[in-house]
């Protein structure tokens, strides 16, 4: 093969590889941005103040810590459970996306 052609092919391959990797990076960044947007919406839904780019890990740690405290309080409570609201099924609608319990 002509050496000049080989050089051209290698140069094109280098450009294609660089473009592919750049697209992958852009894709990852886009996913992260989408996640951040969703998290911000969720935080707003729960009535807490949030900022763009809020640290997801810190937020998760806070939520888990709060939940752990609530579960202990519930276990310690001597008051009877709310039987009417604690149905076995059919109460999942809107729990994740919305604000309802």
């Amino acid at each position: 093969m002509n050496l000049r052609k080989l050089i051209v092919i290698l140069a094109v391959l280098a450009l294609v590889a660089a473009a592919g990797v750049a697209a992958a990076v852009a894709g990852s960044t886009g996913s992260a941005a989408a996640i951040t947007t969703t998290a911000t919406a969720t935080t707003a839904c729960t009535g807490e103040e949030g900022e763009q780019g809020e640290d997801e890990e810190e937020n998760a740690a806070t939520e888990v810590e709060n939940a752990a405290a609530q579960v202990i309080q519930e276990a310690l409570r001597e008051q009877a459970d709310d039987q009417s609201g604690d149905d076995d099924q059919g109460d999942e609608q809107g729990e994740d996306e919305g604000c309802d319990d």
């Binding site: 990076v25 990852s28 890990e57 740690a61 609530q70 579960v71 519930e74 604690d86």
Partner: protein, 150 residues
């Protein structure tokens, strides 16, 4: 000779362009994955806290099972990601350890809810306290992982 120099330059350019970008891509994938599963865990935990505060142990137990399932799925998802830097690898190990602890937290919350439903208050309190202890450990690991990735 001139042609050989051009050839060497082309290969060098390809390597220079692709290697650092690929490293960034892999660590960015890990960062996105940890953020996604952290958000999932936060949502689950929020629901568990709400159910507990409203005295709905049955719902709380079901959500605790979901929390555990999501922690297990997070571990599986993160295991598949291959970080490209030493910092990324360390972050991955911390995140995996965190989500493993979260599976144990979910188990303890489930046991606590079940004990509450059976009227076994002392057992419910014991499992809830065990969950809190495990949760603190998991939280520390997750936050440490996040700090390495950001």
């Amino acid at each position: 000779m001139h042609r050989r120099a051009l050839l060497a330059l082309s290969v060098l350019s390809a390597v220079t362009l692709s290697v650092p970008a690929a490293a960034t891509a892999s660590d960015a994938t890990l960062r996105a994955s940890v953020a996604k599963w952290s958000q999932r865990i936060a949502l689950d935990a929020h629901g568990i806290g709400l159910s507990a505060s409203r005295r709905h142990p049955r719902r709380m137990t079901r959500k605790a099972q979901r929390f555990r399932g999501d922690a297990l799925r997070a571990r599986r998802a993160l295991s598949a990601v291959q970080p490209s830097s030493a910092r990324g690898w360390r972050a991955k190990q911390l995140a995996l350890a965190a989500f493993r602890s979260y599976t144990l937290v979910g188990r303890q919350w489930t046991l606590s809810g079940e004990a509450r439903l059976r009227g076994r208050r002392l057992a419910a309190v014991g499992h809830a306290r065990a969950a809190q202890k495990l949760a603190r450990k998991a939280n520390r690991l997750l936050v440490a992982s996040g700090k390495l990735l950001h």
